[in-house]
Amino acid sequence: MANADCIIIQGSNMAECHPVGFQWVTEAKARGARVIHVDPRFTRTTAVADKHVPIRAGSDIVLLGALINRVLSDGLHFDEYVRAYTNATNLISENYQDTEDLGGLFSGFDPETNSYDNSTWSYQTDESGAPVTDESLQDPRTVFQILKRHYARYTPEMVAENCGIKPADFEYLVESVTQNSGRDRTTCFAYAVGWTQHSLGAQFIRTASILQLLLGNMGRPGGGIMALRGHATIQGSTDIPTLFNLLPGYLPMPSAGVHETFEEYVQAVGTPETHKGYWANGRSYATNLLKAWWGDAATKDNDYAYDYLPKINGAHGTYQTQVRMLNDGVDGYFLLGQNPAVGSANGRMQRMAMSHLKWMVVRDFRLIESATWWKDGPEIASGELKTEDIDTEMFFMPAANHTEKAGTFTQTQRLVQWRHKAVNPPGAAQSELDFFFELGKRVREKLKDSEDPRDRPLLDMTWDYPIDEEGEVDPESVLAEINGYHIGGEKDGHPLENFNQMTDDGTTAGGCWIYAGIYAGGENMAARRKPRAEQDETAAEWAWAWPANRRILYNRASAAPDGTPWSERKKFVWWDEETGKWTGKDVPDFPIDRAPSARSDRPHGGPANLDGDDPFIMQADGKGWLFAPSGMVDGPMPTHYEPQESTVNNPLYDQQSSPTRLVMRREDNLSAPGAGTPGSEVYPHVFTTYRLTEHHTAGGMSRWLPYLSELQPEMFCEISPELAAEVGLEPYGWATLVSPRAAIEARVLVTKRMTPLRIGGKTIHQIGLPYHWGVGGDATVEGDSANDLLGVTMDPNVFIQNSKYVAGTILPGRRPRGPELVDFVEKYQREAGLSPESGNQLVTVSDDVVAESLAADSAASKGGHPHRGGDSAVGVTPGRTFGGEATDSGKATDSAGSDGSAESTDAASVVDSADDRTGRIDIEPTETVNANRADDGDPTDGDPNRGYIGKDAHSTQEGNLGEGARDSGSRSDEAADTNTVDNGDNEEED
């Protein structure tokens, strides 16, 4: 990042949320880079940027699309790069229809399920299954031409109209990114939850990646797209996930009816017959996990105890679980260092759900709001709940902090760092490790005489971790299990060196294959701390990065197709003729001896068949994807839809909002009616939530600390002077903010940092709300929680809620107290005439259009495309993954809810598959695993290099190239030198 010539920070408040990471931006700026901040608010990031471009929340695709349009129409793209390294030349199926043709729908939309069948989005292939290309780029079915048409209406005028960005500012952006891209220069994008917390989150990132590919900024120093995540080991908690749809190492949770048998499961994960690259060893990874968990009980004969794994059948995400709780379908709830009463959307729903539980365990340092909601929560104050009526049993268990336990965090760049233990936890405090170990021990003890086959998995589980002199579980022993070890033979018990040593015959076990090697040779690699001064910039001997300690991704693209650097200035990795090897400032992320001119006659077959100019090595075709034939559930190209509660009409399409977004129709999750609908004027303003430097998420680790609390002591809202004048708000006085769900109060910061925007002929006021405060009795500072205002509507790809665009209104003074507060909120709801249906109409185009879209789909299917949800079970392909069954199972999940309408059930199924994709992001790549950047932001991941592009490879391979020869033998190659096949761009330190 420090090498960039231009940095566009959009959807991120980097300086505030990642101050230490921002040092690289400061450095780039000192070297002369231009820094532009595109954001609804003027933030501390903006303060040190060269330029602020205020934008209406949720309109990012219009802006980025307009940049794409300008680049394409003026021929400003990096032609050589685009031709060589992207799929611009590929022809797309004749059946494909664009949103431009269908009023906002792509072809393949099924109104029954509100999801797409993506078979019409695929490549045209010749008889051999190889994709058809047009090197001239002139064929109207080329990706290049489709892209051009798709974005043709994304004009500067549209940007002014919909984003509220002045034409001059747009021109400045165009100039900045185009002049700072090319052979000599690179531009970098940085984003965070500002993009992901939208119902279009994943597509925002896609749009940027298309732009970056067109400009040739991928895989090159100072280029790329950087995801900024918010939590210490958010990466780790998807790698070794506590997520409903994943097992460690991005192995999917098996789905009922889809992965009935181990064989079916393994097929879905990957076999040499269906995959190239490391996923071909899916059987090994799965076997190793099962062996690691069930040890001797996992045998070849019982399919390594595959049956022990529970099966999912739909979405079991936190918001679905919430609904289940509200319907008394859940008894117990563990909160581990998490404060959903404040930190989750629609906080009231969260707290009400807790009141339906039988028991709850809160493990934290302090009495967070999620631990005290039953005695001093907002619903107690409003009289909606009474302490003496709440049956929930509460356990507060003090947790050990990061100095009181050893273990690893995986930071945003997949770097796994070991923390040494400094002191013992005080009092009854203990680590999660000890707690879960002890809990498991007791549960097993209590069940030890059970004959019930249901209890076998618990009793057969390997649970014999060594205890140290303090009576604590040795975390290194767990790390060793994660790493994996040999079973039997002379190496019995020895740690695996890497995941290539994993076998599928039960002679090795390993808990998370991508972490294999972290304990190689019995050394805790994550604990390595060679000072940076004693090693080069890559700092390969500082901790350990998965996979196989690779740190830099995709850098083959930093050289021209012929292997020479694009320019002296941006020299990074290049082909050395003399030695016949790739070399450079970094470990080449490519088969080390694959000459630039090398060509394979096969479209598949592993890295051995990569062409010498296929830099995006985890893509099936080695190309960067401008058009995504699969992988995204809501369209092959990003297209602009208005946010859920937008008060603005979609200027591009009749289809107002994303037809595939996930809505939750409930009385306690009402939505504003939407643009143009009566009642929408009741909630005219836009709330957008964010974080401050001084606090950490829901405040559990900051609002109890005097040093941080004094810096930002009170909940506030940021409003423009214009809005203050209009509503009559006093600077630093009080305001009440009302959304369709709740009303909160906040102090008023009237500031020119907030800019009213002229959108569609009317003025849109955006109101900024930090979300760190909560109501409770224990924190050093408390205040109303912004998240209470939010409704739950989700991105269909990754299931992240939209918190960056909330409709609401503001008035002077403090909010009512007690029961009056409920009446107050309801008064507004009545005035707006809200019902669970409000704003939740998914399809807003005519039936004819829908029919046409659906017809395209069937035509395509008739056309005999082999691919339809190719590896369905894992859910790489969207929409139809679970087909009708999913709908059913979704009902099983949700129908308990009184308002578990068909729509939301369907949505859930989509979510599910999308979610699987989330995990799949990382399973796709053929050669190696690319980073999943799931984070509070976006499980789909951020860096398109790793995320999008990577994740699609798999299904493409199957769907479009899948019939090609599959040479499992080529695997030996890949296995030989892990360093040669690395993934993706990323010299950003952040």
Partner: protein, 381 residues
């Protein structure tokens, strides 16, 4: 270029013989400050300073600690400005550039140091420099340019600067200034001069530090500081009274109560060869720490860079050894007039006037004596 160390150890008040240390100081470059306040926290955390205030918004943008004081030794100011003010700042900066370099006049203070060197020594000559008499001033070349100074060869005519081929920074209509303030560790330190107990002393690093085991809390130093930095740690500075019952002060231990407190430039870290906590933590290196001379050099280079980019609003604060406090150990690059950040525009160490005040007090005393004498003589009985 820096003339602050011309005299072997008369750099500042107080002497350390055989001190092996260079003068240490900060250069705080506010143009790259992101207002994260890590410096405030790291400082408090290291020095175990109590939180102050009442956990209420102070009504000053994102600044809720208000100012430097007994507990807050690093303070980040937040200033929101509109286009008009930006233009004014740019203009005033432009004027400042045209005043030329400060280091032309031969140094008059230290080179003529009296037995009571330092502030008092400087006082005699300094008071002349302050223009009280206007007559016997040392020659001051008008609009001089020091060719050795960075930026000296840059055009100094405002027109020329305006016409320089630079890309003017954008963000014309609004800006948000952030600046981390700290004790200036003055060359002539008012607090140090007036301290009656010797609790304040000049360290071997030429910084100014309070010895909390000596200080008896007389408070004179508080009045002696032209920058409003040092303060006595009293109830009022720890828990300001509040009338809102939802705000309560934190339960914290309060060390060194009722004594004067201020930035020590992490004296206890310096003695062990460590960097001050604020400088170490600063994510963007807005706070730089090092030998004072280097810091001043860096500051000059940086301001020249910014001017070359058309940011004429950039200026240095405290880098002039001829100023009223003999230059400060903590040098700042700021983007507007000092008072915008709560800094005095023309601070003078009060001791500079002390000889004159003593003289006047002496005359007054004699007068009183004479008056008393005359009273007796005139009142025969």
């Amino acid at each position: 270029m820096s003339t602050t160390t011309v005299d072997d150890n008369a750099v500042a008040d107080g002497h350390w013989h055989g001190s092996a240390h260079e003068r240490k100081g900060f250069f705080t470059d506010t143009s790259i400050c992101i207002g994260c306040k890590a410096c405030e926290v790291a400082c408090k955390e290291w020095n175990n300073n109590p939180q102050d205030g009442t956990f209420e918004l102070l009504g000053s943008s994102y600044d809720n600690t208000g100012s430097l004081g007994a507990n807050t030794w690093r303070h980040v100011a937040f200033v929101e400005q509109d286009g008009e003010r930006i233009e004014a700042a740019r203009e005033s900066g432009r004027k400042l550039v045209n005043l030329g370099m400060p280091s032309i006049r031969p140094r008059t203070d230290e080179s003529e140091a009296k037995p009571l060197d330092g502030a008092l020594g400087a006082a005699e000559s300094g008071s002349a420099g302050a223009g009280a008499s206007g007559g016997g001033l040392p020659e001051t070349p008008p609009m001089g340019i020091d060719l050795l100074a960075p930026g000296a060869l840059e055009p100094s005519d405002p027109e020329d600067i305006a016409n320089m081929d630079t890309t003017p920074p954008d963000t014309e209509d609004f800006r948000w200034l952030m600046s981390s303030d700290v004790c200036k560790h003055c060359t002539h330190a008012g607090c140090l001069d007036v301290c009656p107990t010797g609790a304040l002393f000049r360290t071997e690093f030429d910084t100014v530090v309070v010895q909390n085991d000596v200080c008896n809390g007389c408070g004179t130093c508080v009045a002696g500081c032209p920058f409003g930095v040092i303060e006595r740690r009293d109830d009022g500075t720890i828990n300001t009274p509040t009338d809102r019952d939802d705000r309560k002060a934190a339960d914290m231990d309060v060390p060194d109560k009722n004594t004067a407190n201020k930035c020590t430039l992490c004296y206890d870290r310096l003695v062990d060869g460590q960097e001050p906590a604020c400088a170490q933590t600063c994510p963007t290196e807005s706070i730089k720490f090092g030998d004072h001379e280097d810091m001043v050099d860096k500051a000059h280079t940086r301001v020249a860079d910014l001017h070359a980019k058309g940011m004429t609003e950039a200026r240095l604060y405290g880098a002039n050894p001829n100023d009223g406090v003999g230059g400060t150990g903590s040098v700042f690059l700021i983007l507007d007039e000092p008072e915008v950040y709560g800094l005095p525009p023309d601070p003078r160490v009060p001791t500079k006037d002390l000889p004159q005040m003593y003289a006047s007090a002496g005359m007054a005393a004699l007068g009183m004596f004479a008056a008393a004498g005359l009273a007796f003589l005139g009142s025969k009985r």
